[in-house]
């Protein structure tokens, strides 16, 4: 998958003391939560690199953002997060195009429910782990190295309430998100001492394409815009872990503390 043509570096939006710019990368920005966050952060004045596989969706989003802000605040880079070896060079090019780097948000996530508590599908499980977890590590590992040496920066990773407990419904997805949450926690423990904030976001149900895959009821479902707003607020406060909607914090607290002897007999 090729990235969009390199914009001449001189065409990049110049930062000055009176127009300071924060520069961010959003991986998984073509729709849903990623797109909502892109709009939200652009409104806060961020200059953004938007990454996803689907170039047309990205282009449309960039046009919309740039039109609204009346300057080039968003650039599109088409990219498949499982092409791990392409990350270092693409990252370097994006940082040069943006003129620095202050924020990286990893939103990309896929969910292939096996379709029943007696169904198993290794191929789908592998794809979920490769995208949701290894894809995140491929990006966040070089980003963490840069932020650590710069002693500045912010990382936001979108995990899920699904990672808080292994459940009967979707072992592969649970695992990918649990792995991501643990990876983010480890990065936080490494980077906080270097002045870098790592925020783990655990959304519950959200009205996105992924919700269509949900099996059964979807309580407390929120719009991606509401989730983006929650994330922005948490970013400003340099929080560590948030649930969105916030009620999930209490729900998951109860679920996490349900004894296994009961939990393994439940069919959820």
């Amino acid at each position: 998958m090729s990235a969009s043509p390199k914009p001449a570096s001189s065409s990049r939006t110049v930062a000055t003391p009176l127009y300071p710019r924060r520069r961010g990368i959003i991986i998984g920005a073509s729709d849903g939560l990623g797109a909502a966050l892109a709009r939200r952060l652009a409104r806060e004045g961020y200059t953004l690199a938007l990454l996803a596989r689907r170039q047309e969706l990205l282009d449309a989003l960039c046009d919309e953002i740039n039109h609204e802000s009346n300057e080039q605040r968003a650039r599109a880079y088409s990219h498949d997060v499982t092409e791990y070896n392409k990350v270092p060079e693409l990252l370097r090019r994006i940082v040069a195009d943006l003129g620095g780097l202050d924020l990286v948000v990893f939103v990309t996530g896929i969910n292939y429910p096996p379709g029943g508590i007696d169904k198993y599908n290794f191929e789908n499980d592998r794809r979920m782990v490769e995208t949701n977890l290894i894809g995140a590590m491929a990006w966040l590992s070089p980003v963490a190295a840069m932020f650590q040496s710069a002693k500045s920066g912010q990382i936001v990773g979108v995990a899920s309430v699904a990672g808080d407990r292994g459940r009967v419904g979707n072992p592969g997805y649970n695992t990918s998100k649990a792995g991501l949450a643990t990876y983010l926690e480890a990065l936080r423990n490494r980077l906080t001492r270097h002045g870098v904030n790592v925020l783990t976001v655990k959304p519950g149900f959200m009205h996105t394409r992924m919700l269509q895959a949900a099996q059964g009821p979807t309580p407390f479902a929120i719009s991606p815009e509401k989730a983006a707003e929650d994330i922005w607020k948490a970013m400003k406060k340099h929080k560590q872990v948030i649930y969105t909607a916030s009620i999930w914090r209490w729900i998951m607290l109860a679920i996490q503390h349900t004894p296994s002897v009961i939990f393994r007999r439940l069919s959820f």
């Binding site: 300071p20 195009d97 710069a150």
Partner: protein, 468 residues
């Protein structure tokens, strides 16, 4: 071993702490290492900017997302000849190293900035001026020779005669044509470590400028403090300091006063309070009311002409007198707006600007005036006239209004035939730069850049802002 970008990502700031950008930072110690960095830049498709001490108020030494060559480790004084006063230095040598080396032998750098932390490479790239600009010109006029490395790896030596085009363009060229690797300067003879300083008040702008103009010929250095918080008939009031070098014999203890111990800037206030803490105590006063409250009592006792003797270091390096003073401007930092105006139009233009700033509630907290003359360097900022430098505090609240005001300032200055200084102003647009430099100058500069750096390897945030 070949270089990599690993573990080099560093967040850099400008002098005023008002702008930050992260870059891959390298700190060469030898000329060959500069070439290694050029090679890495070509391999990775990144641009390179040289950085000295990072004492520019804007983005001159920032290259966000690209490579920054931190030249501060190339800081050897290679040759010093106390007989002729010629010194050959690496570009990372600071003015502090330089004056401390030459003064005990009876010499002083011909042109110095308000801080001694600047490096010679940076001084040449910006072609800095001092309080003696009206007499001695910018630092470039005292460069006997320099060697620079071009992005191709070729070293080129320039003097005012040899490679003259490049000599006059690389000095003032913002580091966009090559990276200085060695600089030969002619020092200026002194006969004492002291200057004789006259200080006197000026009640308004018209007197302020007339006194600068009329008195400059009688002094070696002249500088004015302008209280930009006062309007009406007192607008432009302030105090002028004129200083002259003592002649041979005027200082009976010349040998002593030229020793470093005598030039030492005290690091404690009243012998007790560490000056490094002073900026914390200054910050509560750095608002409209506080500055007015300081400027007024500062003006009143100055209203008496007096003469005193002061060491060179104390007179010149006011910005080093309070360490980290720029921190007292708070989180948003500060920016400086310096305009250079011909003597005929200066008064009207500055009156308009100062009135505008007061009307909009954005008065400058520090105003400094100087007397200038033009020079021959390609991207020159000087005119036959004066300069006024104004410091503004940047806050999240005032950014938009301040930006609007500086755009109005730019229009006033350009209309009055003025110029800007690339080491200072951070908001000069490409259009404003074109207007004061002239199309012809820009074409010439770009042509030289095309020759020296055909792949545009050398780029700074400033270059992209002004020439991009």
């Amino acid at each position: 071993m070949s270089l990599t970008l690993d573990n080099t990502f560093t967040q850099l700031e400008n002098f005023g702490h008002s702008l930050r950008a992260s870059s891959y930072c390298f700190r060469p110690t030898r000329t060959e290492e500069i070439y290694e960095v050029f090679r890495l830049a070509k391999e990775t498709g990144l641009t390179v900017t040289a950085r000295g001490a990072g004492r520019s108020y804007n983005d001159a030494s920032l290259n966000g997302g690209g490579i920054v060559l931190d030249m501060s480790a190339m800081d050897q004084i290679l040759e010093w000849d106390p007989a002729s006063g010629r010194v050959r230095c690496e570009p990372g040598v600071t003015l502090r190293q330089l004056w401390q080396r030459v003064e005990p032998d009876g010499w002083w750098p011909p042109v110095v900035s308000g801080t001694m932390k600047t490096t010679l490479g940076g001084c040449l790239a910006a072609n800095i001026h001092g309080k003696n600009n009206f007499q001695k010109g910018p630092i470039g006029e005292h460069v006997m020779e320099f060697t620079a490395m071009l992005p191709s790896g070729t070293s080129i030596t320039c003097t005012a005669e040899k490679n003259a085009d490049l000599f006059y363009a690389m000095i003032s060229g913002l580091g966009m044509l090559g990276v200085f690797t060695s600089i030969t300067l002619q020092m200026k003879r002194i006969h004492s470590g002291l200057l004789s300083v006259d200080a006197w008040p000026v009640p308004n702008l018209s007197r302020h400028l007339r006194d600068l103009l009329d008195n400059a010929p009688h002094y070696d250095y002249i500088v004015g403090w302008l209280d930009a918080t006062t309007g009406g008939k007192h607008l432009g009031r302030g105090q002028i300091h004129g200083a002259r070098n003592l002649k041979d014999g005027e200082d009976p203890n010349a040998q002593q006063t030229m020793q470093l111990a005598y030039q030492h800037l005290p690091d404690r206030l009243f012998g007790v309070m560490p000056k490094s803490l002073l900026h914390y105590f200054m910050s509560p006063f750095l608002n409209n009311l506080g500055v007015w409250g300081i400027n007024t009592p500062k003006y009143i006792p100055s209203a008496r002409k007096h003469t005193f003797r002061q060491s060179h270091a104390e007179f010149h390096f006011l910005l080093d007198y309070v360490p980290n003073w720029e921190r007292s401007f708070g989180r948003g930092g500060l920016i400086q707006y310096q305009s250079f105006l011909p003597r005929e139009t200066a008064e009207t233009a500055w009156r308009e600007m100062i009135e505008l700033s007061q009307r909009r509630g954005l008065p400058s907290y520090v105003g400094v005036t100087k007397r200038h003359r033009p020079d021959k360097f390609l991207l020159t900022h000087t005119v036959d006239g004066f300069s006024l430098a104004m410091d503004f505090k940047v806050t999240n609240k005032n950014r938009a209004t301040l930006s609007k005001m500086l755009q109005d300032f730019d229009r006033i200055v350009l209309h009055a035939g003025g110029r800007f200084y690339f080491a200072k102003n951070s908001e000069t647009s490409a259009e404003a730069a074109r207007a004061f430099l002239g199309e012809e100058t820009i074409v010439k500069f770009k042509k030289l850049k095309q020759c020296c750096d055909p792949n545009n390897l050398l780029e700074s945030d400033l270059f992209r802002r002004v020439f991009g």
